[in-house]
């Protein structure tokens, strides 16, 4: 039971990104972020405000993708924008590219005028990153995601925010980048991406190899903490009994997880 797989480490690391947020709206995009936020709400930060991803604030903390629950508020899209500007929000977005200065791209790959690959569009990334705390989740850390310069800046990193002036920088707060390999922030030398910890079983060399730019790395990089027994029980029995987390982070899998 104390065995765990990488998905659990990631969920706990994401939960840790939200543990000191206090009573704010936690907006996870994607499955692992949703799992991590709900894990935080059931353990380290019960004050977090969470939604169904549609238009309702949830009174309880239901399993992934469960619908029925007590409703404690109304959060249609227009009010999400209100909360973004109000600032009491922490969003964890995905990222098709992240660069050395913590800029993120979800718009398109290649030249904007005629991209090689059109993605979603900038969505709310420009507004999120200059208004409320923003983190990123990358399930497959590799050199295609972590690039020297993103093709299109959707989410704004601290250096660009500062260059744009106090209107952009005063609420710019890129908090954490959690990947399947480690945990990062953007507080490295010259506002660059810094390695905070490597997940159990991952080496610093592996992270460097999978990153397309020079990371800020201290001489002694700690290991990401292991999930607690309580967290493992909450994840397995309460939040994700179907094991959906393994679709996003399939490896490495321990024997006790394969049996599930």
């Amino acid at each position: 039971m104390t065995e765990f797989s990488r998905a659990h480490v990631c969920a706990a690391a994401i939960a840790d990104a939200f543990k000191d947020d206090g009573e704010i709206f936690a907006s996870p995009m994607g499955m692992l972020p949703m799992l991590g936020v709900r894990l935080a709400r059931l353990t380290s930060n019960p004050d977090l405000v969470i939604s169904d991803g549609e238009s309702l604030f949830l009174g309880g903390t239901p399993p992934l993708f469960a619908k029925a629950d007590v409703v404690e508020g109304w959060i249609p899209f227009r009010r999400v924008f209100d909360v973004v500007a109000y600032g009491k929000r922490h969003v964890m977005m995905g990222a098709t590219q992240i660069d050395r200065q913590g800029n993120q791209n979800i718009s398109a790959i290649g030249d904007f005028a005629q991209p090689k690959r059109q993605l979603l569009g900038s969505r709310g990334a420009p507004g999120n990153t200059v208004n409320n705390r923003t983190s990123y989740w990358v399930p497959k850390h590799n050199t295609r995601v972590f690039v020297e310069n993103v093709d299109i800046v959707s989410g704004v990193g601290p250096a660009r925010a500062k260059a744009a002036g106090p209107g952009a920088s005063k609420y710019n707060d890129i908090h954490r980048i959690v990947t399947n390999l480690g945990v990062f922030d953007v507080k490295g030398d010259g506002d660059t991406v810094r390695l905070l910890s490597v997940h159990p079983g991952v080496t610093v060399e592996e992270v460097v190899e999978a990153t397309g730019f020079a990371l800020d790395i201290s001489t002694d990089v700690p290991t990401t903490r292991e999930p607690t027994l309580e967290e493992l029980i909450v994840i397995r029995e309460v939040l994700d009994p179907k094991g959906l987390r393994f679709r996003e982070v399939p490896e490495p899998v321990t024997t006790d997880e394969v049996a599930k």
Binding site: P76, F77, A85, R117, G121, S122, R160
Partner: protein, 299 residues
Amino acid sequence: MTKPRDKQMTIDQVVAQLSDGMTIGIGGWGPRRKPMALVRAILRSDLKDLTIVSWGGADVGLLARAGKIRKLVYAFVSLDSIPLEPNFQRARQNGTIPEIVELDEGMFQTGLYAAAQRLPFLPMRAGLGSDVLVNNPWIKTVASPYADENGDFEELTAVPALKLDVALVHLNRADVHGNATYLGPDPYFDDLFVQAADKAFVSVEQIVDTAGLTVDTPVQRLLINRMMVDGVVETPNGAHFTVCTPDYERDEKFQKAYAAAAGGSDEDWAAFEQRFLSGDEEAYQAAVAEFRAEQEATK
């Protein structure tokens, strides 16, 4: 007793109000409560060179594939359960939409607010530092005339008004005068679209009498008032295949078929068009019913 005027129209009468080169705002959000019956009517028309303003879903994909769009203003285009809209991707990657304006999704709301309030712009932070301002150099910043707590005069994005010639929205119910109510969980931004436009047309699942609008739903759901509306059309299942809760959920099987055709070969798309988009709305709904029956039969 005298009553306000009756604004009921047919789908074709709405489309007859549109002309080449117009700026058309399409309500709803992504794959949710889109005025698809009106979009399909535009596909059938000769209209061209349109500027489309939309938090986009298949509305944008279909219009792009049909070559109707000269300029697209959007923050994202997505089918949600299928994140990337294949027809939109294709149009972007082939460069077939001449003019592209990609905004942050909150800027989009602010732009509609500005238009609805007849202001040239409204300030906000979104856009600052991002490539939204690089790729749209016509969007300017503006200095606050007031010093902040540090004595700085903050430079903010001056989000330009997204002024529309016409707004098309789809709600659950309306009366013949144009008072309209949504019954699902989210109003989206349909009230902003209609107020940002010179003319607004509302399609609904059902036209009821005015008293019926508040019989079984709170008055707060009356999102749109008749003074904002020029025409009302009853189009049952008119948001198909997008979601229109509580009347119906998104038709995921149909959406999957749409996306497969859109992302497939030219022949795949031609077959989809031939089957679903070659006739009028009645023919479309009949083809959808047949599709559904097939899906049921293969269960």
